[in-house]
Subunit: 464 residues, 2 copies
């Protein structure tokens, strides 16, 4: 082949070399230039196309790099043999399918709500600006895979003061949310374990362990929390618990049960307890219940904490405290995994804690949620002849269990007809079903006092 | 028991109710108040201690919540039976052990470097400030688990223009770094698969799949990349490849080999290819090599991209493009996993791309790296009688293979004695060992042209 008639567009945004490259590539792909064909020399093609020789050379080099042509010394450029050429078809774009939007309700008693109006935007913006100004290159260099040491130290101080947990920064691992932290933990613990969950449970963790291919088992609860006798019979390796405020029932695990649980873990060297301390900050009677981890003298408790619940859901920042016996495994098997939280975010939250903003924010939201909580309890009073309230001393939701014959499904449906969303306890049950539940959850973090009053009046009307 | 002599400190920062609670709790824990003992009534204790009755009530309520005491109707408060009381000892803080600092070198030719001086701090700060000002509550509400739709759309446009990849936002999943993305992918793919790696390999991914308990197999490479005949014999389910620029050898997989690889995947319904397109942005001859994903007409290629390499390591932002056949599995098994990237960071990078800053930043760093690359090649020229250069057309490192009898270990040691760090190819080998390698890696992203000149002169001296 001595010439290639390429219609070059000199005023195009595509460089000339790229037009030549595209033309020849398409001809090879379509089979118009067959395998083994010799391409014109760069000199002859540049003369023919009236472009510089380096333009043609650049086009040939690109074809060479991508394997369309090959260079034979002293002979020139030849089309490569591409055995699977018949296979060469461009991937077409998939048709876009946006998922259906969820129905929105006038009043949504979501138990996962957070009041974002009280989020300290100005402080956040200020800290963010200061950090981006102060520190320059260091801030964007890759950080410690475990999380910044100074940030982990701040977490330790907070845990000691607020949760009675004694730990060192070496035991703390920072990550982008609980789900990720549990994924990372699974690489530390290794596969093939059986994980026991409270039932009803924090389903997000239950589903996560299932998706990580762990065997799971549900253990019933009595009024002190997870039943240890059932747990002992379940042959589990790990127990996932929420002792300070069981999710979703709100049960507080009393000291006796906590010690029984620790004793269960103590019986075998490779047994562990995962303590998910997800919302210990919000307690309305007395002071927060101390963490189980505070009594973990034998290194059996893996403690999980999060700022997503206490600051804002979009702050993807959780951490775990590994007990001493798991640190070796972490260092050997999982320490190489890069951190999932940017240094900027770690430093913002660190200063948020150290400069007292976190405590102030917690006090403010606790007071806010307490008022909403009190209004909700007050408004529910006229309904207490047909239902009872439980789990109301902490967190941001409570449970209503009905005695007037209405089942969960109907309670939800009647509320939905009046544009109010309430949540069924059965959503959190591993063994139970919708058919037997008479309990709904009402979260109040997201609603104003006025909205709560108005919504409960409607609920009282439709549930009678 | 009718009285408890508690030495209350009225001027203490600890509230009175908490002092009472602490005192009684300690006495129960130490066994000084035995099981079954009746506590004084709230009225009598408040009279005795000269505090308000509600103060004592609050202390008792806290003890009640934590399970230290129980209330018997019409009889009063009694110390609970806590069977495991002997077990109750506070966890002591572990002794802090900071890990040893790594040795630092005068010149470090790390292949993982990024020039952070060219990071557009002012733009970043501006975007960050604008985003935190514009949008308020929405920004801190929990986001789409897959990543924000608008951000995923921006990624699609970028992939189409820059990498020849056609995909929809529904196929894109955003996450905090490659390691996390691979963890998430493992929940989509499920357990029990065998993953094939190029050898030498990107060890971070290799170690990650091992830590996720996958069986792994290494497949040799020839000058076109992974050997398909070896791959075919390896009985792998997934092949992990870096076709546009093999890490660490720099090989570009030619079109023929790419099609063979696609054909391998096509042979069985559950075979997939993971294309890690980690640094396609940096190519110094012609235009970037198109992504393998661009030819994936049958939904066999899982594409991985990252902004950590092209913007800054501390930006924890990667993404994967799932082929259509895996979307169902993702939606069923893994979509519930919360996003690991804050909305703020997603919006900053989205605007960084959409407003043209990303392209400008890439052009700027590409030019910068190209100059350093050219200087390094030029300075190495006098050494070409004892070694040869490879993998130099793209990325931010090149390889030197020695013919003068020096082994990798000695090359590294001699350089270290002169305070220069170079990296052995054997660090990336799955099968190979230090004993046979004569190749070192020199990364240049982190060093100025002057530093490169100076360091190579020293290296030339010590490697002769």
């Amino acid at each position: 082949m001595n010439e290639l008639t390429i219609n070059l567009k000199t005023n195009s945004a595509t460089p000339l070399y790229e037009q030549i490259y595209d033309y020849i590539k398409n001809d090879i792909q379509s089979g118009r230039i067959p395998y083994g064909e010799k391409l014109p020399s760069t000199r002859s093609l540049s003369g023919y196309l009236e472009v510089s020789r380096s333009t043609v050379e650049l086009a040939y080099e690109q074809l060479l790099s991508e394997g369309y042509i090959e260079s034979r010394p002293c002979r020139g450029f030849f089309v490569s043999e591409i055995e699977e050429l018949y296979y060469l078809k461009r991937a077409e774009p998939q048709t876009g399918r946006r998922r259906a939007e969820q129905r929105s309700y006038r009043y949504d008693f979501t138990p996962n709500g957070v009041d974002l109006k009280s989020f300290p935007y100005n402080v956040w913006r200020k800290l963010s600006r200061e950090i981006l100004t102060d520190d320059r290159t260091e801030l964007f260099r890759s950080g410690d895979s475990q999380g910044e040491y100074s940030f982990r130290s701040a977490i330790c101080s907070y845990l000691y003061q607020a949760r009675g947990v004694n730990c060192t920064p070496e035991q703390v691992i920072v990550g982008a949310g609980n789900d990720y932290i549990l994924m990372l933990l699974s690489t530390v613990l290794g596969p093939g374990l059986k994980v026991a969950f409270e039932d009803p449970a924090y389903m997000q963790a239950y589903r996560l362990f299932k998706s990580l291919s762990y065997e799971t088992v549900s253990v019933g609860m009595d009024r002190s929390g997870m039943c240890i006798s059932q747990l002992a019979g379940a042959e589990a390796d790990v127990a996932y618990v929420t002792p300070s405020h069981q999710y979703p029932t709100g049960t507080v695990m009393p000291i006796g049960r906590r010690l029984e649980l620790l004793k269960w873990a103590q019986e075998r060297e490779d047994r562990y307890i995962i303590e998910d301390d997800y919302d210990s900050e919000f307690r309305y009677k007395g002071k927060p219940i101390p963490a189980l981890k505070g009594y973990d003298a034998d290194g059996k408790v893996i403690y999980l904490g999060t700022f997503s619940k206490s600051i804002a859901p979009a702050i993807r920042l959780s951490y775990m405290v590994l007990p001493e016996p798991l640190l070796d495994a972490y260092n050997k098997k999982s320490r190489f995994v890069n951190s999932t939280v940017s240094k900027v975010d770690q430093l913002i939250v660190q200063r948020f804690i150290e400069e007292g903003y976190y405590e102030r924010h917690l006090n403010k939201t606790r007071a806010l949620y307490k008022s909403r909580h009190d209004v909700l309890i007050e408004e529910l009073r006229p309904l207490l002849d047909i239902c009872s309230i439980s789990g109301e001393h902490a967190g941001v939701h409570l449970l209503l269990t009905f005695r007037n014959g209405l089942m969960e499904r109907e309670l939800i449906e009647r509320a939905a007809k009046r544009d109010i969303r309430v949540y069924g306890l059965s959503d959190y049950m591993i063994q139970g079903t919708k058919e037997t539940s008479r309990t709904v959850l009402l979260g109040y973090a997201n609603l104003t006092e006025e909205q709560i009053k108005e919504a409960v009046r409607i609920l009282a009307d439709c549930w009678r």
